[in-house]
Amino acid sequence: MRTLMILLRKEFQQIRRNPAILRIIFMMPAVQLLILPLAADYEVKNVNLTVVDNNHSDYSRRLINKLAANDHFTLVGVTDNYKEALVTIEQDKSDIVLTIPPHFDREIIREDEAALHLSANAVNGAKGNIGAAYAQSIIADFNNEIRRELLAMPRMNPAPVIEVTTINRFNDTMAYAIFMVPGILVILVTMVGSFLASLNIVHEKEVGTIEQLNVSPIKKHQFILGKLIPFWLLGFVVLTIGLLIARVVYGIIPEGNLGLIYLFAGVYLLALLGIGLLISTVSETQQQAMLMSFFFMMIFILMGGLYTSIDSMPEWAQVVTRFNPVRYFIEVMRMVIMKGSTFRDILPNLYVIGGMAVFFNGLAILLYRKRS
């Protein structure tokens, strides 16, 4: 116990004097949480629209006005030449071209149906796709308006108009900050857990102080605990700073019990530190450790459900995410912050992450050698 205290004291002496670590702990959460939620947002705005109007009727003009009035679209131009419109796509001036056929108005009135043609620029896939989807829903809306007007006419079939209204539960305004901030917080805690600890141990290898410890009577578990505990605590510091920023800047106050987040973070950090320890036992230099951590971080982040919804991943990728600790913490964060989930709700995730903590630390202790 005394030896452990001595190790911890030394570790904190070093951390206190290390400007790089202090910067990561205080600056990284601030910068990432202030900038990322504003920039990395799924909403597609400013879809540039060009309309090829071959009809020039009241109906076609009404449709164009309706589209232009929507704040997702910017009307770039109206032309009557399809080829000309395609050129604007090639020049990247427009994302979507809507073609209104020559007999649009007549088809609507006499034949009950009319065809429109949308062509989307798929270079920026998301913008083109989502833009096309927006345009379709606006056209559907337009369609209903026309139907209602024409219902008065005896010749028409009185078709019922069905309108779908959506309510976004747990995030009623679909605010991106409340969706992104918990996820980004997880990434920050993950970085501290895996990067800092493994770099720290490999640094001791590089400068040779680890050899000095290995010839001393320090026990293996004392050494490992001496490294785990400081970074475990630093993880909490980062989490706390992050939660404070979320509250002050974005007004995000967890619906559920804050203690649940800390409880889960405690176990989660253990799992991550275990991975960090493993990386440090197989790396000889800080570069190796850094590259290896980076490799895992990329996969963890991209497959963690922060930027891409796990439900829409292909089956095999969904299987991969089950081995990704980040996924479980992001889920818990969102559950507790947005839905107000209880201990019982997060229990399955807690089990998985607890298992990972035991596995990675066990493996690290097994592989760490005081001698060769």
């Binding site: 001595i6 004291r9 004097r17 040779g208 000095q212 009577p217 005081k370 001698r371 060769s372």
Partner: protein, 249 residues
């Protein structure tokens, strides 16, 4: 000199890395209070042999006892009783002198009261009283080495292992360093030191010269000179090392 207790005993001590035999069946004995010089060219196997003795490398063959404990099976007991200073200078550079003293004293089980007295005496001897709060990285190399040595023996070990302790410092600093070594030996601490400074070899009670993983010669400096009919250890070393198959690195 009359020696009673044997503190290091190596019997056919061998270390292989795959096909390469770094240390090849070496046998030697070191007595309590002796300053034992372990000489050899780069790559001769000095450091590997030392790493086995201090318990961070497992012998492939043969055995050794250090301070009465087997290095293969009782290495933790060995570690309680030895001090070590590596050629990679290993104090914590980013914390102050006093914190290093506290740390290295602490991990060898020194109690705070004892530690305080020791620390004061140590800083006094090294004339570093005003530098307790200086970061180790800001000290001159010679001071760092003296501090590292003093910390390697802060817990009064039976034996201290020094791996090329004086690399890269001027002759005057080296002399002062050797004064510290003698003071430690006078207190009964056995000193096992590797070096490739031949003038330092002359300071040792006994020396062994390693060539290609084997011990090519071992005796007191005076006896070796008679045996090889030479006036200096330097000449003997050159004569022996010339026959080496391994090139230095």
């Amino acid at each position: 000199m009359q020696h009673t207790e044997q503190v290091i005993q190596a019997v056919n001590l061998t270390k292989r890395f795959g096909e390469f035999t770094a240390v090849d069946h070496i046998n030697f004995t070191v007595h309590q209070g002796e300053v034992f010089g372990f000489l050899g060219a780069n790559g001769a196997g000095k450091t590997t042999a030392m790493k086995m003795l201090i318990g961070i490398s497992t012998p492939t063959e043969g055995s050794a006892t250090v301070a009465g404990f087997d290095i293969a099976t009782q290495s933790e007991s060995v570690k309680q009783r030895i001090g070590y200073m590596s050629q990679k200078f290993s104090l914590y550079e980013d914390i102050p002198v006093m914190e290093n003293i506290r740390f290295f004293g602490g991990i060898y089980g020194l109690r705070s009261k004892e530690l305080k007295t020791k620390a004061a005496a140590l800083l006094e001897t090294l004339e570093m009283g005003s530098h307790a709060k200086t970061l180790v990285r800001d000290l001159p190399l010679g001071w760092k080495q003296k501090l590292a040595f003093s910390l390697a023996i802060i817990h009064e070990p039976k034996i201290v292992f020094l791996d090329e302790p004086t690399g890269g410092v001027d002759p005057i600093t080296r002399r002062k360093f050797w004064e510290l070594i003698y003071a430690a030996a006078a207190r009964g601490i056995t000193v096992f030191v590797t070096t490739h400074y031949m003038d330092e070899a002359e300071y040792c009670n006994r020396i062994s010269i390693m060539v290609d993983g084997r011990i090519a010669a071992m005796d007191t400096p005076a006896n070796l000179k008679t045996q090889f009919q030479s006036t200096s250890i330097d000449a003997i070393f050159t004569q022996l090392a010339r026959g080496a198959q391994r090139s230095g690195d």
